[in-house]
Amino acid sequence: MPDIFSLFQDQAEQFFKSGHTNNWAVLVCTSRFWFNYRHVANTLSVYRSVKRLGIPDSHIVLMLADDMACNPRNPKPATVFSHKNMELNVYGDDVEVDYRSYEVTVENFLRVLTGRIPPGTPRSKRLLSDDRSNILIYMTGHGGNGFLKFQDSEEITNVELADAFEQMWQKRRYNELLFIIDTCQGASMYERFYSPNIMALASSQVGEDSLSHQPDLGIGVHLMDRYTFYVLEFLEEIHPASQTNMNDLFQVCPKSLCVSTPGHRTDLFQRDPQNVLITDFFGSVRKVEITAETISLDPNLAAFESKPPKDELAAEPLKYAEQLPVAQIIHQKPKQKDWHPPGGFILGLWALIIMVFFKTYGIKHMKHIF
């Protein structure tokens, strides 16, 4: 009997393992200008993976300078590629950038994190997390020892970031937080964290530079950074049901591939990284257990017979009615009504011409014509 009990307890413990009920992602690209194409591609690639694994746009706060896709220097407008030979367009039709261009500032970033946002801000620009949220924070750009540069005009220091996370902890705005940073000397950014339940990864140690991966000769800039490239390759193998854990993520980019030494910090994290699933942060995996049997929750209602499930009629797939044929409207050309000169004009003109002709040459020529 105690074995079954502990088995149930294990199962129950398994079920409520991570303690989170929703997932959020804050993805920040802190650079602008064309030659920082790779930072935008980094952020958009993480955005794509996170969406693929289930986090919806309403739970993603994406901060980009967004000046790549429509940049006059972009030979393929409206695209941002993350693979050379332009294999993978991470921009696409459905990217939702929440903070774009000059809105990506240190102040806005800290306000998003701490929730101190002016009342009129739309929902898409807020991090509406609660104490059961797991938040993924990904930052990329140019950084140094203890700071990260925002849009070439200001910096955020590691102390400010640590204090922001402490504010989040005190306001119960996260359950667990995964912080990933892909910049030069990235490890310096997580050195000062002091709030519990934070796990951090960085692409390079203090004193090292993070390097970019591959240039594309057609576009003319480097498309991705190495660390994020290999993280992405790793994430491509993750699907919502995978059981890969954080230790694998720590091994993602060895020095041979990344040239810099990636680092991580887990001392503030309460669970063992071995037990932390990738999908705890990167995906939005709902705990759903499917059962075919009916379970009676109220013992007094056991008198009700469970009805047999009705056969579902094979209905034809439902779809929305075509309310607005947008494509037709956009491509409609204005109806060409042909203009014709009025009959009176033509008549008058030719009558005049004939009159002049006969006045000059005389009526006697008429018999030569007819």
Binding site: P334, Q336, K337, D338, W339, H340, P341, P342, G344, F345, I346, G348, L349, L352, V356, K359, T360
Partner: protein, 435 residues
Amino acid sequence: MAAPLVLVILVAVTVRAVLYRSSLAAFISERVEVASPLNAWKRVVEGLALLDLGVSPYSGAIFHETPLIIYLFHFLIEYAELVFMITDVLTAIALYLAIQDFNKVVFKKQKLLIELDKYAPDVAELIRTPMEMHYIPLKVALFYLLNPYTVMSCVAKSTCTINNTVIAFFILATIKGSAFLSAVFLALATYQSLYPLTLFAPALLYLLQRQFIPVKLKSKSFWLYTMQYAALYLCSLVVIICLSFFLLNSWDFIPSVYGFILSVPDLTPNIGLFWYFFAEMFEHFSLFFVCVFQINVFFYTIPLAVKLKEHPVFFMFVQIAIISIFKSYPTVGDIALYMAFLPVWSHLYRFLRNIFILSCVLIVCSLLFPVLWHLWIYAGSANSNFYYAITLTFNIGQILLISDYFYAFLRREYYLTHGLYLTRQDGTEAMLVLK
């Protein structure tokens, strides 16, 4: 003489056809020297497209062609290139026939004056012979058709070629002596662009000469004929304008065409003198200076009529040249028309003083136009002053050309009646000065 003319026409048509098919056609039609806001092909197409969409083409500031052009191109727009080539050919043929007739008239008059002993005894070398005059019509047609200005104008499909055709037909009708046709074509030419109005005077003088009516202010027959011709001209002009009303059922075209020509609102650079002045001018002076500039075109008619009343065709040449220099939106197509006449006065060569420097000025300026345009607009290392300088130099060259020919013509006339070797009272050689 028909065969060489046909050959010249064939060569000209080939040159134009080749240029139409090459990539230069697009480049040339963009040039401001060739296409002005009045006669650019792009605007014709735009106006016709607006008409197809149910909007009056005169409602914006883009279309400044007359309704007859709308009518013409409504049916012929797919054959536009053919139309322009045919108009060029027609102009050349009209000029050819006109100059042929004119030569006959000149020769007849010369014979008359010789028999009447009006010439001085030692001017034998100035007398023109039919031999030397034989190839002049062909040269005129050649000058018109193969002039680079004409070719560019035709390739750019500028409606200036149509204006030139109408003026050429007017000249043909005048020289043939038909007052009615001459009035009709003059009315058409005035209707197309306003300035051929000034050609009324030379045409009248020529027709009077042909009818042997002396130009005396007291003579009744002079006034009768003048009134008849003026009545014919004004009636045809009124009829054409009223007919144009019925094309679009509105008088919109009058401010759009004539108001535009007279008030010069569009200051796109061209080879004329108006744009720079009005670009730099303050608003409250612009009305005054527009009036001054426009009067400048019409002003030379009366003095020239007084001086050149015996030589109306030369007067016509000078008047056409003045129109094409001083009009509000000149293009190289207008210049081509009066340059076609230069072979007619080739016998004046020995009296021309500046012909070398003027031809250099004109050629160099024509070559510098695109260079300075590029420097101004594309390279940004020049500004409008540079382009205006070339415009000024070019126009000065043209004015000097005309005044040179004028001087040479008058000098020859003086020598014819007073002898070649002029001596002063004390026997030393005298110099003729144009005062």
